[in-house]
């Protein structure tokens, strides 16, 4: 091997990497809006409302689209929280476990959380004063926001749902057997989304929030809480929306033409 050989290798590597780099940068720019300001969703909330509980996507796949989100699992087996890229499952007995990537989900929404906007609360708020007050603080209601709140909450009331067996009942029936837990002075993170009213049928219009304690011992779908004054509410403005519809299973046969907004409101609260 002489110098010319290595000169040849070096020159070729420089040329090929330069060309690859231009190509990859173009690719990156093309997909940037989707990677970083996109809510990615599996299936629709109305399909879940109508009892489409079979998982259609492995939860590991969600990690391609975000590190932050909420959802449920195959068979409606508990509440999902994805935080810092880790997926937690709140079982109906209140325990929190981490899940393997191969577990599937029938409904989930995730994004890469990047803080764009912060609102600091000025008074303590329960869930209904939070949702009405914080909606007024948003730059516009016609936008998707990921919502992240870390704090110590004097009151936190969450639910989880038991895994269902076929024939699957609708969600309004399944939640009749939900487990509800109330905690005091718990420190953790609220993880969720705000979607505009025109997402009706597709996602949960307004706020949809789950909770996970810092010690990963408790959590669930939030039914009520007290957010103390002086709490920073972080928003990620998310103009991109992406959804995968199931191409097989129960989804294809159900009647999704109804307006389930009132029923959804009862189920979620």
């Amino acid at each position: 091997m002489d110098q010319k050989f290595f000169l040849g290798i070096g020159l070729a590597i420089v040329i090929v990497f330069a060309a690859s780099s231009v190509y990859l940068n173009l690719q990156k720019n093309a997909s940037d809006p989707q990677d970083h300001d996109m809510l990615y969703q599996v299936s629709t909330i109305d399909a879940l409302m109508l009892g489409v509980y079979d998982g259609v996507r492995p939860v590991g796949e969600l990690k391609q689209y975000g590190n932050f989100g909420i959802g449920t699992f195959d068979g409606l087996d508990g509440e999902m929280i994805m935080l810092d890229g880790v997926i937690y499952q709140v079982k109906d007995d209140g325990r929190v476990v981490t899940v393997t990537d191969s577990v599937t989900t029938p409904f989930a929404t995730v994004t890469h959380f990047e803080r764009d906007h912060t609102v600091v609360t000025t008074t303590p708020m329960n869930i209904s004063s939070f949702t009405s007050t914080m909606e007024e603080q948003l730059p516009t209601g016609n936008m998707i926001y990921a919502v992240k709140i870390h704090g110590t909450f004097p009151f936190m009331k969450v639910r989880s749902v038991p895994a269902q067996v076929r024939p699957y009942p609708p969600l309004s029936v399944a939640v009749l057997n939900q487990s509800v837990y109330s905690y005091s002075d718990t420190t953790g993170t609220i993880v969720g989304f705000y979607t505009p009213v025109f997402f009706s049928g597709v996602n949960v219009p307004g706020y949809h929030l789950h909770y996970l304690s810092d010690d990963h011992e408790i959590g669930g779908h939030i039914l009520d809480f007290t957010v103390p004054a002086g709490t920073a509410v972080f928003y990620d403005i998310t103009p991109g929306f992406s959804m995968t519809l199931p191409t097989s299973g129960d989804f294809t046969g159900i009647d999704l033409s109804g307006d389930l907004r009132e029923e959804l409101s009862r189920v979620e609260k």
Copy 2:
């Protein structure tokens, strides 16, 4: 330069290309569902209904997401047809022109058309018999389909809309000045989409079809037609949906909470 120099270049190129190829393939697999079975949409149909006509995305950007689609242009300046990657504008005087990539759009839907499903018509159909008959032929109504029909149509009734000036009227008012053209025995392509009813507010539920003649002389938003017996209707099953919401301009201030389905139906037909 001796043989060893070229051997060095050759070896380096093989190694670097092999490594790049593995990386690019992983990237490709990760984004495959979005690239090829995804409807990409700019803004929402209800925003257009309410007079949000300022373009928010250059039409050239649409080409990243598809080679086939429909929409309109900045200021509601005519009807858009994207076919085989070329973007055509049907002006309200009936002329068809191609547009440069920098022209913007306030609303457009595109995909990479790949035929998955074909239905051959057995009787001649007008628009209303087509939509009702062809809905029954779909594998499921809970899915997005891109729809492509090439043929010679005994009757084709299309409209285009004149560019609007501020203050923008709602679409129901703007279409009062639409131009309607009826053609006989025209050969061309019908380009459009079917979206499920749960896309209300976001897209046009049911069929939304535009037309472009093979000679690129005529086209527009289809109000009625005769599709002859024996015509092949091509469907692209499109389980992925992706949307970009405008983050500035009129979109952020309008009230998108209303149900505009009946008004939309009048405007579209």
